[in-house]
């Protein structure tokens, strides 16, 4: 017996409508309203919040956030691909060990992990201690409360999100294709760029989306590692809601972020072809 599966989707649909679609609609409506003198909502429709988002000040934050997200994605890709390749080509017992090691950070609280990075990069942290001990430095390097520390935090936190989709593709990869390429005269780089990377495109694009989008909206890591001077899109939005009490402007910024994310999904579809899944095993 086969049942129509429509009824089974009702709970999920209700959940999504209540906790995703309705809130997004609220945000969309708020973004078109105005802030009153004391932070209250004034019910007059205007596009004022959107035009304000294109002020030089905010454009700068947008640009910085986009660049940081792009950089994080690139670094994650650069490190995640060899990592995924190593795991996928390891022997069975090593493979599960390496995968477990990749997942271990998720067993620790996110905030604790970010503070750990703060400690490692800190003035009295192991890196500075080692550099001073070896005589390379006389005074400690100040690395925390900077964009650099934020980037380190982003890469550390999001590396598994890049590695796993690539691993999924490589796990099912027919490695005799690499031998075929060598046999036909391709050298190392040629094998990588003509066969291995094009065939891992699905994993690379999925990984890029899974890193780029959350990093673009990330506010905890910049908050904890970036210090007061590092303002990124995520913090900007949080600030509008919690400190500036400018909900309509915060909502407009959030809507722009949502549109940017939808844009990158569209880009993914264009890159991996129509109907492609986010991660296809």
């Amino acid at each position: 017996m086969r049942h129509k599966s429509g009824a089974l989707a009702v709970p999920l649909a209700l959940w999504l409508v209540t906790f995703l679609i309705l809130p997004v609609l609220f945000v969309a409506v708020y973004s078109l309203l105005k802030r009153g003198a004391y932070g209250e909502i004034v019910w007059t429709l205007s596009l004022h919040n959107y035009t304000r988002a294109f002020d030089a000040l905010y454009l700068g934050i947008f640009t910085k956030s986009l660049l940081l997200a792009a950089l994080t994605t690139a670094v994650c890709m650069f490190m995640g691909f060899p990592l995924a390749y190593t795991i996928a080509t390891a022997s069975k017992s090593w493979r599960s060990l390496l995968l477990a090691m990749l997942m271990v950070p998720f067993l620790t609280n996110f905030v604790v992990r970010v503070y750990a990075i703060r400690a490692i990069l800190g003035v009295e942290g192991p890196i500075n201690s080692a550099l001073i001990f070896s005589g390379l430095l006389t005074a400690p390097l100040v690395m925390t409360d900077s964009l650099f520390a934020v980037a380190v935090g982003m890469v550390t936190n999001y590396l598994p999100f890049m590695t796993l989709p690539i691993y999924v593709v490589l796990e099912g990869f027919d490695f005799s294709l690499l031998e075929a390429a060598q046999d036909l005269g391709a050298r190392g780089w040629s094998v990588l760029f003509k066969v291995l990377l094009p065939m891992s495109r699905q994993g690379l694009v999925s990984g890029a989306i899974l890193v780029f989008i959350p990093v673009l909206g990330e506010y905890m890591i910049p908050d904890l590692l970036g210090g007061a001077r590092t303002m990124l899109l995520g913090n900007l939005i949080t600030e509008q809601f919690l400190k500036a009490r400018d909900w309509p402007f915060g909502a407009a910024l959030a809507m722009i972020l949502v549109l940017a994310m939808l844009g990158s999904f569209a880009l993914q579809r264009a890159l991996v072809g129509k109907g492609a899944m986010l991660v296809q095993a």
Binding site: D174, A181, G185, S190
Partner: protein, 376 residues
């Protein structure tokens, strides 16, 4: 032209190839035949350069290529599951080696067309690999390996994924392609029929060693080891004791099967130092066993001027196989089972029944004596 000298290879302490030496002539269709795990694929991978021998050398046209990486060897390989690049179309797959070797576009296009025509795949250039049937993928893999005009083509069980009819057709095509190109083919297979049909010479491998090298006739009709005899085609194996060479001839010997029955059979070159009384096997192909009904029936043998061994068995099975009939008989004195494959079923007595007595016979020249412990 292609030569391997003293190749040894172990994986994790497990010896997979043990002192293999082979020499291949130019333009030869050379098969490496053996059961799975005998080391034949590893040997091919050593030729291609994917694996490196622990010791020993590989020579191509007199020069050692043992340390040459795969991309610099003038040999190409057809992989077992073709290993076609799924992200490229047929023409891009075939053009791959030309592209990485920086062959100019007009020349490239011409040679891709030429290679596709060679395997009767003209007009398929723009097709995606996933839209091709197994046989078509096989042809594309061949075209891709041939387009760069290698000196040697390596084929790793390329027909094993095809269904029977297609496999038989591809055997013929591969063989005629090899003749037309005059190229050396090294063909790895576990299918003895395939090896016998296609090869100029066959190397039979077992447990990392080459047991025999020779023409299909050599390995089938004059096997030198018990393994070669049993791996190529089916054989009847009778156990007995060596009863010495036949007077004045070192080429034939006697085997005592017990119960006062002696059989004469050929003594292969490698078996000529057998001690008297040694436990041996007497082997004979089922198609060389003839059959007559009843104890007094005088059968017709196709082999003239040869000693005939005959004994009476009880028929225990009759299998009709279409073109042939297999008849199993039990020789009571030492419970040996004999199978006779009768090619001309019409010549059989019509009233042959299980349980009847029948005379099984074979010519001494069709049987041979082997030491079950291997060649001396």
């Amino acid at each position: 032209m292609l030569e391997m000298r003293g190749i040894d290879k172990s994986f994790d302490g497990q010896r997979v190839i043990a002192s293999v030496s082979l020499a291949l002539g130019a333009g030869e269709f050379f098969s490496i035949l053996g059961p799975s795990g005998c080391g034949k694929s590893t040997l091919l991978r050593i030729l291609a350069g994917f694996d490196h021998p622990d010791s020993g050398e590989v020579y191509l046209a007199g020069e050692s290529i043992t340390k040459t990486p795969p991309h610099d060897r003038p040999m190409n390989m057809v992989f077992q599951r073709y290993a076609l690049f799924p992200h490229m179309d047929v023409a891009e797959n075939v053009a791959f080696s030309l592209r990485v070797n920086k062959v100019a576009r007009p020349e490239r296009l011409r040679r891709v067309d030429e290679a596709l025509a060679l395997v009767a795949m003209d007009g398929f250039g723009g097709r995606r690999i996933s839209t091709l049937s197994g046989g078509q993928q096989q042809r594309v893999a061949l075209a891709r390996a041939l387009v760069n005009r290698p000196k040697v083509l390596l084929l790793d069980e390329p027909l094993s994924a095809l269904d029977l009819n297609l496999r038989v057709r591809m055997q013929t095509e591969l063989r005629s392609l090899q003749r037309r190109l005059g190229m050396t083919f090294v063909f790895v297979t576990h299918d003895q029929g395939e090896a016998l049909t296609m090869s100029d010479r066959i190397a039979v491998m077992n447990q990392g060693r080459v047991e025999q090298v020779g023409s299909p006739q050599d390995v089938y009709e004059r096997p030198e080891t018990a393994f070669v005899a049993s791996f190529l085609g089916s054989t009847n194996r009778l156990s007995g004791h060596f009863a010495g060479p036949v007077d004045g001839r070192s080429t034939h010997g006697w085997v005592d099967l017990g119960a006062g029955t002696r059989c004469m059979a050929r003594l292969p070159r490698l078996q000529q130092n057998l001690p008297l009384g040694k436990q041996v096997h007497l082997l004979v192909r089922p198609e060389n066993v003839y059959l007559g009904k009843g104890e007094g029936f005088a059968p017709e043998s196709t082999v003239q001027n040869s000693h005939r061994n005959e004994f009476v068995c009880t028929l225990c099975d009759i299998f009709y196989r279409g073109a042939t009939v297999d008849i199993n008989g039990l020789w009571q004195p030492n419970k040996s089972l004999m199978t006779a494959t009768i090619l001309n079923a019409a010549a059989l007595p019509a009233d042959l029944r299980v349980g009847d007595y029948a005379r099984f016979g074979f010519a001494a020249d069709d049987a041979w004596i082997l030491n079950p412990e291997g060649a001396q």
